[in-house]
């Protein structure tokens, strides 16, 4: 049992942190980047590809690096720290994860190879308007005629879908179950928009859109879809952890430097105690994120599903606490779009509502409460 990074992991973290700092050291750059098309920095995306970051989760056979979940988590944390809008989570972890899990060898080599190289951006379309974290598709239907598949329906929100080249779509199969299909972005109509944190998503309409089954045609992919969602949930929690770390640091720095009534704010015990409570939440969240990330290596779907719910609930609670207190302790400046802290609070909510919010995970955990005696950490 070990909660520390090895030297290579440390080096990865430093490298990613260094690269991101060249672009997003200043929040103003992030602000300008998300205001322009495509909502992220294509040059940075290219450099991430060069560093092998975009191929991190995929096997070398598929054109990737074959790194483990801890490494992917490190990247997500660093992206979160600077609120980077690059669609790593949506494109690499989520959509790429579906391809890696379900795709045939040639599909994997093609799509993941190009994704790793920064040549295509993927997005997963798995949510129907009003839908809530279901691994069973209900907004898009697949039809087959003469061996040719087409899709009809609407997916929304498709995170990263506005500028994706290829969509990985979950759709209801004609004979029941849910299949996953690859669709060229040219074959759909889509309307992009910004979420509250100014990252981009899209509403995607399929109208007889040509689709290629990912893996064996017509087979129910429900369990795989669920597992990839769980993995994405855990990596989203890593990203949220990075946000929270930045918020706690920014708040602490602010309390030390901002003067009111002739003294710096850390002279007010009520405020420093609240900062202490933020730190407590941060440490608890950190522990849970590390743990959930480590469970992935075991390869047991049920264990990962449980870990996703647990870290999801923890992040929802800690994220709201820290995100709200960070704004409150900053006062007015925390409310402005010019300042990273409030935007971080928006990003925490977007991550949660996208990947699974607190009540959702609590409900699932509550259902399972009688399935065990003690919750075993190790």
């Amino acid at each position: 049992m070990d909660f520390t990074y090895d030297d290579e992991q440390q080096a990865l973290r430093e490298a990613v942190r260094g690269l991101l700092a060249t672009t997003y050291a200043d929040h103003e750059t992030r602000r300008r980047t998300v205001a322009d098309e495509p909502g992220f920095d294509r040059a940075l995306w290219g450099r991430l590809a060069e560093m092998g970051i975009l191929g991190l989760p995929f096997s070398e056979d598929d054109g990737g690096v074959g790194a483990g979940p801890v490494e992917i988590g490190i990247v997500c944390q660093e992206l979160g720290r600077v609120l980077a809008p690059e669609p790593f989570l949506a494109s690499v972890v989520h959509a790429g994860g579906l391809v890696a899990s379900l795709g045939l060898a040639e599909q994997r080599a093609d799509l993941l190879g190009r994704l790793s190289a920064g040549e295509v951006v993927l997005a997963a379309a798995d949510t129907s308007p009003g839908g809530r974290w279901a691994s069973r598709a209900d907004g898009v239907r697949a039809s087959v005629s003469d061996g040719t598949w087409t899709l009809d329906g609407v997916a929304d929100p498709v995170v990263g879908g506005e500028s994706a080249d290829v969509l990985v779509v979950t759709a209801a199969l004609p004979d029941g179950g849910t299949g996953v299909f690859v669709v060229a972005a040219d074959d759909v109509s889509r309307t992009g928009y910004a979420a509250a944190d100014l990252t981009r998503a899209a509403s995607v309409t399929f109208d007889g859109s040509a689709a290629t089954p990912l893996g064996e045609a017509g087979r129910d992919a429900g369990p795989s879809i669920a597992t990839i969602s769980d993995l994405t949930r855990i990596m989203g929690a890593n990203q949220a952890l990075g946000v929270m770390q930045s918020q706690v640091r920014a708040t602490t720095d602010y309390l030390k430097s901002r003067k009111q009534f002739g003294v710096t704010l850390n002279a007010f015990q009520a405020l420093t105690f609240r900062a202490a409570d933020m730190y407590v939440e941060l440490e608890l969240a950190h522990s849970m994120v590390d743990w959930a990330t480590m469970t992935i290596a075991g390869g047991d779907r049920d264990v990962v599903a449980d870990a996703a719910d647990r870290v999801g609930l923890q992040i929802a609670r800690s994220g709201r606490h820290i995100g709200q207190e960070a704004i409150q302790l900053h006062g007015g400046i925390g409310m402005t779009a010019e300042y990273a802290v409030g935007v971080g609070t928006a990003h925490l909510e977007v991550l949660d509502q996208w990947l699974g919010n607190g009540p959702h995970h609590l409900r699932r955990l509550a259902e399972r409460v009688t399935d065990h005696d003690l919750v075993e950490a190790i």
Binding site: R132, T191, A195, A196, F261, Q324, Q328, T336, E338, N357
Partner: protein
């Protein structure tokens, strides 16, 4: 002790309910009830409709358009507006500078400003906060230097709510740097079209522009636009901030928002955890509303009841809690915050994240919740 309203008050309430739902355009009220943004014109139209009925500034002196109501009646007026989705009359006009001019202003100032202020012919902005002052209002640095009959103003204000719409701004400025900091402050009324006044809207985290920075560069203000005495600004500021007793907490609007959620998110009400969360909030709101009524019932003659801080503190917490619930009920649909109206996601769900973020301000602006706790522990508990 008795729960029922008197016959008079019941009739009063019915009259308010009737007036609000017939005299203020439905479209404006729907905009409020659905949590969408009002335009400047809508706010003006609504207040003028109220003013035509004598309902815009009931708490002003009768000679300037006020009604001689009891505090309970003012409370009912305020609650019924919120229930009906009527925009509350612009606070800067109705609750702030109007009462200040009526109390401290010269006859000339009263004649010149009060009627237009009540009717929102003049849109007032508030110039109190400064970048380096925060909650420590008295340390403000904007200066006004005497030059003949005029004052020449230099400095910067910030967090000026809706300042981009403003015609005039009432400001606290330092007119004397030699005395104790509170004693050197005066209130000036400044025409925002004067040369040297510049307004820059600040984008907030919900994407809206509600607050502004306002710069004054050698702005020349005639001497008759100083309210009260030079150096009397701190007294006026205290009067103004202590002037709130009715309508401190947005109980009615929060209740309405919660009740509306039960309809919009009806498909999730099978979940006992959702029901419990709503039940808990409904109870908390009831307790808050009853406390507001107790404050109203106990208040004597213009003195602010210290429990106003309780109302502000808990009122903002509940307002925020309802917005959290809404966001959780919206789920993934909440990502479509800045989608256009042709989005397949429902409008209420799309608005939840911006609303959640916007309402973080409620516990910061207008006396942060930390200031409220300070007031309670010092003023009420004597700590």
């Amino acid at each position: 002790m008795q729960l029922e309203l008197s016959q008079t008050d019941r009739e009063f309430r019915d009259r308010m309910r009737e007036t609000f739902t017939t005299k203020v355009p439905q479209e404006i009220r729907d905009t409020v009830l659905e949590g969408r943004h009002l335009t400047r014109d809508q706010i003006v139209e609504s207040q003028q409709a109220l003013n035509a009925e004598g309902l815009a500034v009931p708490h002003w002196p009768v000679e300037w358009g006020g009604q001689d109501w009891t505090d309970l009646q003012r409370h009912l007026w305020h609650e019924e507006m919120q229930r009906a989705g009527v925009p509350i009359p612009l606070a800067f006009n109705a609750s702030m500078i109007g009462p200040v001019i009526a109390q401290f202003g010269s006859e000339e100032q009263k004649e010149r400003f009060l009627a237009k202020t009540a009717n929102l012919d003049i849109w007032w902005s508030q110039g109190f906060s400064e970048p380096d002052a925060g909650s420590d209002l008295a340390s403000l640095r904007t200066t006004a230097v005497r030059d003949g009959d005029d004052w020449v103003v230099n400095g910067q204000k910030t967090w000026t709510t809706l300042g981009q719409h403003g015609d005039w701004i009432f400001t606290l400025v330092r007119t004397d740097t030699e005395v104790k900091k509170q004693a050197g402050i005066s209130m000036l009324l400044i025409d925002m079209t004067d040369p040297g006044v510049e307004v820059r809207p600040i984008e907030l985290i919900d994407g809206g522009y509600e607050v502004n920075e306002v710069w004054f560069s050698d702005v020349r203000v005639p001497g008759d636009l100083l309210v009260g005495e030079p150096g009397g600004g701190w007294t006026i500021a205290k009067f103004l901030l202590g002037n709130e007793r009715v309508g401190v907490a947005p109980v009615g609007a929060t209740k309405r928002a919660l009740a509306t959620l039960k309809t919009t998110a009806a498909d999730q009400l099978d979940d006992p955890l959702v029901r419990a969360r709503i039940a808990e909030l409904e109870n908390d709101l009831l307790a808050l509303e009853l406390t507001a009524l107790r404050v109203v019932a106990h208040s004597s003659d213009g003195e602010p009841h210290p429990a106003s801080s309780v109302l502000k503190l808990r009122g903002t917490v509940l307002q925020q809690a309802v917005s959290e619930l809404a966001l959780d009920l919206a789920g993934p649909a909440s990502l479509a915050s800045r989608a256009e109206d042709d989005s397949p996601q429902e409008g209420w769900a799309r608005r939840t994240a911006p609303t959640y973020l916007n309402l973080r301000k409620a516990s910061i602006y207008g006396g942060s919740n930390e200031i409220q706790r300070q007031i309670i522990s010092r003023t009420i508990l004597g700590l």
